[in-house]
């Protein structure tokens, strides 16, 4: 996993609530047995017209969106299926953080395991960010603070273990493997 310590980027905004994982990456692209290359299919049915051409009015297709690493979206982002292809596609496109007032559980967990930060903001800051696409934000994982362009500092929740893994680029598998002795003891004792 690529570590993530600090992120300074302009935002891309998708204001809809309840953006589900079928929308993030439709099921027909799940036939891959790889993790890479999914960015091309990110939001496919939204981003491309039925004839395959990019829709110019879709926020991700605007030239200024190409180097943005922060996606701001309406509440309950990532609801629906457990497909990890959703964070894989977002990361492959170039995102490192998704900001919303509410993020679905499985998507949140999948994101953290791949170095994509699911960042929860309060209602008022969420509304401000939705209304200001392209705002330059600064995200500091170590202090768990998102800074808005006017200098407002917005603390965000991040579980200490997940924070540690993000900062160091550690994955959980090593942690679990190191504790297999405890697992064996548990199995014997049941």
């Amino acid at each position: 996993m690529r570590p993530l310590q600090r992120l300074r980027s302009r935002t891309v905004v998708l204001p809809d609530g309840n953006i589900d994982t079928d929308r993030i990456i439709p099921a027909r692209f799940l036939t891959t047995t790889e993790r890479s290359g999914l960015g091309a299919h990110l939001f496919a049915d939204w981003r491309y017209a039925p004839d395959g051409r990019e829709r110019a009015d879709f926020p991700l297709n605007r030239p200024e969106a190409r180097d943005c690493a922060v996606l701001v979206a309406g509440p309950n982002f990532g609801c629906g299926s457990s497909r990890e292809h959703a964070p894989w596609a977002l990361l492959d496109f170039g995102f490192r953080a998704v900001v919303s007032t509410a993020i679905a559980d499985i998507f949140r967990s999948n994101s953290l395991k791949n170095g994509l930060l699911p960042l929860i903001v309060p209602e008022s800051e969420g509304a401000w960010l939705l209304a200001h696409p392209g705002a330059e934000v600064d995200i500091d994982i170590a202090t768990r603070i998102l800074t808005l362009p006017d200098g407002t500092r917005v603390p965000f929740p991040l579980e200490p273990f997940a924070q540690h893994c993000l900062l160091e680029g550690l994955d959980e598998l090593g942690y679990l493997l190191a504790r297999r002795g405890a697992v064996e003891a548990y199995e014997r004792a049941r």
Partner: protein, 472 residues
């Protein structure tokens, strides 16, 4: 001596599976009793094991099936024709190779017990009260119907379970959802759970495990309980659970992989300890009155956009709502009743068990579906298929003009080529009406098997009570 504090069903199951309890600095290490895998979310997990040179640690605790991208046409399942979609064929081959290499049991495509992962777990007696069950699929919540703690995980976590039989988890909160009153004739478990999602919202259960309880839940048969727990994730919940009772034990007794003899007696004794203690505290409580529920149908692009079948599409100002209605080709204030329907799909892990097929057949028997309408009936498992055939349900569906298929996820997510066309309306017994879920531009109306059958007969959105002979 102080007596132990009363605990919920969830807390009992959680505590029994804590290898290491959670602390401020680290999540709990939770032991997984049963791990179910399928062809779509497992390849990258096996790849991770291979990369690290790791074996599957407890191969006997994992069972593999094929369901998501597999064909439902008989010749493609049993040989005679190749799998039409090459990428799906490759996923099938890769799962076969991975299971062989890592020593995991697989129910291959032509196996008599193969089926949708959430149908076969309970059916085989593998899903048991008090156990922890995970799968790389969000509808794993289904297995909570037997009193298990069952939830969906991502592919990285599939690798974690394969390599360590454990997951790192923060303890979720609990929500008691009590259903009182009585369900009316023509109103079933699907209507109940759609109503609940309409009430609490698609994000209403986020961070929570829902325990469904109360007289209505206690009165449901096991397959209806599975329908309810299945759609917990559609309310955003981590899992859904129902306390095991005599209905649960009668369902599990004698199933091929349920305990037998003395082991059964021991298991039963432990299972009887599971229900929430009187006075156990939940983080949230919600009450629902079953008497208010009518046959339900969705009108929008998530399951929370739902209404009684005789109702009108709500009027709301926000842009996302307007866009969803635009996608659906519907207008605010419009009734859905009598709206033309192009496709009816009876299938999925929500509603493709024997009782669901019986419920649809009840209306279809001796009748024909509307001219020009396509109806697909896809049993949840090969065992369901055979059971339905042995009571002649396949003939009822065929004679009505429906297609009768081999089991799989099929049109629920349209990975295998079973698709709804652009702009078409599909009344589906599945669980998701997301944009593009059943195909690009497809418009999904979620409903119960009874309602779906009624719509198939008339070719229009129809209240099933009108065809049951009762007053609507």
């Amino acid at each position: 001596m102080m007596s132990a504090a009363p605990r919920t069903l969830f807390e009992k199951v959680w505590q029994r599976h804590e290898v290491v309890p959670e602390s401020a600095s680290a999540p709990a290490i939770l032991y997984v009793d049963l791990h179910l895998i399928h062809e779509v979310t497992s390849p990258q997990a096996f790849a991770l094991l291979r990369e690290r040179g790791l074996p599957v640690w407890r191969p006997r605790r994992t069972l593999a099936t094929m369901d998501h991208s597999t064909p439902t046409e008989t010749a493609q399942v049993f040989g005679g024709a190749p799998i039409a979609i090459e990428a799906a064929a490759q996923q099938v081959r890769e799962l076969e190779r991975n299971c062989a290499e890592f020593g995991v049991e697989l129910l291959p495509l032509a196996h008599a017990e193969r089926g949708i992962v959430h149908v076969i777990g309970p059916e085989l007696g593998l899903s048991q009260p008090g156990s922890t069950i995970v799968c790389g699929d969000s509808h794993t919540s289904t297995h909570g119907a037997v009193g298990a703690l069952a939830f969906g995980i991502g592919t990285t976590e599939v690798a974690h379970v394969l390599a360590s039989q454990c997951l790192l988890q923060r303890k979720p909160r609990t929500l008691a959802l009590t259903v009182t009153g009585k369900l009316a004739e023509g109103v079933g478990a699907k209507d109940l759970i759609l109503y609940v999602i309409g009430q609490i919202g698609v994000g209403g259960g986020t961070g929570h495990v829902i325990e469904y309880r109360g007289p209505v839940i206690e009165g449901l048969d096991m397959e209806s309980r599975m329908t309810v727990c299945n759609m917990s994730i559609e309310a955003g919940a981590r899992a859904g659970m129902i306390a095991p009772d005599e209905t649960t034990y009668a369902y599990l007794a004698g199933r091929p992989r349920a305990p037998r003899g003395a082991a059964w007696e021991r298991a039963l004794e432990a299972w009887r300890e599971l229900p929430s203690d009187p006075g156990a505290r939940f983080d949230r409580t919600v009450q629902v009155h079953a008497g208010l529920i009518e046959p339900m149908i969705t009108y929008g692009t998530h399951p929370g956009m739902v209404m009684p079948i005789g109702g009108r599409v709500p009027e709301r100002g926000d842009a996302a709502f307007a866009r969803a209605l635009d996608y659906m080709g519907l207008a605010p204030g419009q009734p859905l009743k009598d709206h033309p329907v192009d496709v009816v799909f009876i299938g999925s892990c929500t509603n493709a068990r024997l009782s669901d097929l019986r419920s649809a057949a009840r209306l279809l028997r001796g009748r024909r579906i509307a001219r020009g309408l396509r109806m697909l009936v896809v049993p949840g498992s090969q065992q369901v298929k055979r059971a339905a055939e042995s009571e002649g349900l396949d003939a009822v569906f065929r004679e009505a003009g429906a297609e009768w298929r081999e089991s799989g996820c099929s049109m629920c997510l349209g990975m295998n080529g079973d698709l709804v066309g652009r702009g078409q309306y599909s009344v589906s017994t599945s669980n998701r009406n997301f944009e593009g879920r059943q195909g690009s531009g497809a418009r999904t109306l979620l409903a119960s098997p009874l309602t779906a059958a009624a719509c198939a007969l008339t070719g229009r959105v129809t209240d099933p009570r009108e065809l049951l002979g009762g007053a609507p």
